[in-house]
């Protein structure tokens, strides 16, 4: 059953991730992101991290994606992005190459560790006993009223209670730091998104001459793309287009 849940949710997660990448409309990409986040929440339930599954749905799918959709509607970028344009030469191929390399590195690390990627379990470690997941924590208090003879075969302590105890005892300092972090984030967002005084100046037109290839995109972005004679201080003498596109990639 765990295998069935895993494979179904893995398919949902990867389909959603692919949707985020290839969807031309940002709203559709955000909805694909919701699909991925729900799949991750199902995996958290599969891994018995029930509190994180709930938080995943509430915070990610409920708050962050809604924030994304708010901003999409606010700034009015719900137009389809033209995926055919390619302002950086060979950007897409290089990105796929980098992704393949990253995946290869991950696979090599997994294989090189001989499948034993998780190391030594913490069962024999007495210091980690208060953080152990599957064993009941021996608490002398009787706040739950079932004594202290509970074992792993009996009902362990609920996930939320264990996580809460860990957060407010061992990780309480980091927990307080997150409060400061969130406060700074809110203040920073208010400062940055505030409408400043006076008339807004448009951004100065900068044309990074090394990324534009105005010969290849006959699209609405062409009017912001300057003519090639004006922007290239050192015009790359390309007698043929294919070798220049194949080797010249100075920026990435």
């Amino acid at each position: 059953m765990e295998a069935f849940v895993f494979f179904v949710s893995a398919a949902i997660i990867l389909a959603g991730a692919l949707g985020v990448i290839v969807m031309r409309n940002p709203v559709h990409a955000a909805l694909s992101l919701v699909m991925t986040l729900f799949g991750v929440a199902v995996l958290f339930i599969n891994l018995e991290a029930y509190f994180l599954a709930a938080v995943q749905v509430i915070v990610y799918a409920g708050a962050i994606v809604v924030l994304f959709l708010f901003v999409i509607m606010l700034v009015g970028v719900d137009r389809a992005e033209d995926l055919r344009t390619e302002p950086i030469i060979r950007q897409r191929e290089l990105a796929l190459l980098a992704g393949a390399g990253l995946l290869a590195i991950a696979v090599i690390v997994g294989v090189a560790s001989g499948g034993d990627v998780t190391g030594v379990p913490a069962q024999g470690d007495p210091e980690a006993a208060d953080l152990a997941i599957d064993r009941a924590v021996e608490v002398s208090g009787d706040f739950d009223g079932d004594g202290d003879e509970e074992t792993i075969t009996e009902a362990p302590e609920p996930n939320v209670r264990r996580l809460g105890r860990a957060l407010f005892t061992d990780y309480v300092f980091a927990f307080e730091i997150t409060a400061i972090l969130l406060t700074i984030a809110v203040v920073g967002a208010v400062v940055m998104a505030r409408r400043p005084e006076g008339e807004l100046q448009p951004l100065p037109e900068v044309e990074p001459p090394w990324v534009l290839r105005p010969d290849l995109d006959p699209d609405p972005h062409a009017e912001v793309a300057p003519d090639p004679g004006a922007v290239e201080p050192e015009p790359d003498p390309e007698p043929d287009e294919a070798p220049a596109a194949a080797d010249g990639e100075p920026t990435t």
Partner: protein, 105 residues
């Protein structure tokens, strides 16, 4: 039969690697800043999966605690990033990631 497979942590880590790669490729390919943020969220979720999987394999609660803090940092990052996007789009409504080179320096 698919139900007979025992799901080891390697399966979760493989899924995590795939999801992280998908997010990285999307971050490199897309030019809309909002979609780039979504790809960052994909990468953070991949790391969260591996955190919880490691924690489950080692019967340690530290993985779930780490995911909790990653969630908080992701929320702060999204708030700051979207405020930046709003501030930039207000000045130049059709800006892509290529147009934000003016911010450098």
């Amino acid at each position: 039969m698919i139900l007979a497979i025992t799901i080891t942590p390697g399966y979760y880590l493989a899924l995590s690697a795939l999801l992280f790669t998908a997010g990285a490729v999307g971050l490199l390919v897309r030019r809309n800043p909002l979609v780039m943020f979504m790809c960052v969220e994909l990468m953070l979720n991949a790391v969260n999966i591996s955190f919880v999987s490691f924690g489950d394999a080692m019967t340690d609660l530290g993985g779930q605690v780490s995911v909790f803090f990653v969630l908080v940092v992701a929320a702060a990052e999204v708030v700051i990033g979207l405020a930046l996007v709003v501030a930039i789009m207000r000045r130049q409504p059709r800006a892509t990631a290529d147009d934000i080179a003016v911010m450098r320096g």
